[in-house]
Amino acid sequence: MTVDDRFSPASREPGDDQPPGTRNEIITGPVSDWATDFSHLEPEWSADPYPIQDDLRQRCPIARTERFGGAWLPTRYEDVAAIAYDTERFSSRSIILSNFRPPRELAPIGGSPPISSDPPFHHDARKLLLPAFTRAAVERQEPATRAFCQSLIDAFDGRDVVDAAYDYAQHIPMRVIADMLGFPSEDGPRFREFVENLLEGINLPPDERIERVSRLFDYLFAQVSDHLEHPRADLTTYLINAELYGAKLDPSHVVGTMALLLIAGIDTTWSAIGASLWHLARTPADRERLVAEPALLPTAMEEFLRAFAPVTMARLVRDDMHWHGVDMKADDWILLSFPAANRDPAQFDRAGAVVIDREANRHAAFGLGIHRCVGSHLARMELRVALEVWLERIPAFTLQDPSAVTWAAGQIRGPRHLPLRIR
């Protein structure tokens, strides 16, 4: 057996406290005016961003902030779509808006291909992943996902109040992606820590952020070592053996893609499941109708994805330009809010209402253009199965205490605590 030395300890870059890139002053605290000082990390936004977005769409459709070293927030569907489609002028080399901009030389690959990649590399890196995430491929995970959802509800036995976000929603995507990557299923709590560090710790001091992110990569390298010793039929072994342009992948590509699959699949789907249950807990008419008409669930689910789209992406402006009425500078961030696009009345009738039998629903919850969420078929399967099992087992439930519901701050929004009375 030949030794794959791409992943030897010596091949890892030495711990560098100051990776190249640009840092800016960290500004936190209450927002003075959302049109000129927005921040998606403040509690007012995470509690309820929709009135803020609706107001901005009316009076300042491309909002600005000097926080994060300068960023723009478009709230109209047409602007969000135009940016998603324009990969020439808007780079994906960092898709999480923070106080650190990676160097321009990181493009077109980025740290976690293909989500962080620009054309032409993006197409080839994405092509490696697509076959594993088709609808037919993810259907193979459905029986195990359904059995796991049943087991989570079995564990509620004897309880009147459960936390649907913490005790149910979060575990489903963690288990599914751990199985697909071939990681130990009991590592779920560690995945939650990685997710929180990467997506919610945006305003931490940079050194602390680097320290936390390196814990994720230590974990992933350990998983790679285990898979090199014990290859098996999973995505980790697939990525280790995958080839691009006639050669095995660069180790940073393998581990960066593993990080993407682990992180991107978890709190996104967790958020979608939780937000759907939150809506049903406070809307008895919709809950009763879905219990009575299970065949409506696929349609209702698309409406939950539209109205409570969990994912906002980021882009970096490539060059100075005047764009749709504003003067953008090179390396300005764009906060690419698919949730705001999904509530634009110019695109959707009754945009602010949840209409569970909405038939024409061209929503952008999974993005638009070449970066369409590669896991969208997996996410839809998990969301459908999670809701089917819940509604079948627990047809009647209400919010135990609306003020106890908490929502994640940052680019991925969904309930993190959702106490529901289930009997």
Binding site: L130, P131, R135, E359, A360, N361, H377
Partner: protein, 66 residues
């Protein structure tokens, strides 16, 4: 009525083959493809219209009267 997919626009969201499995399928990478010659059988016009109305990329188009 005929259905077409513009493969330059399709990004593999899969709304068409979820909504109208008699008219659309997925290829090995998840992109949508038209099954058969794209002629919509009588009785499936509604599914065809819904598939077009739900494509986020506007890649599914209909030709009426064919």
């Amino acid at each position: 009525m005929n259905v077409q997919i513009d493969s330059e626009c399709c990004q593999g969201h899969g709304r068409c083959y979820d909504i109208a499995p008699g008219l659309f399928g997925e290829d090995g990478e998840g992109y949508g493809r038209v099954l058969g010659d794209g002629l919509v059988p009588a009785g499936e016009e509604r599914e065809a219209r819904l598939a077009a109305a739900n494509c986020p990329e506007r890649a599914v188009t209909l030709t009426e009267g064919a």
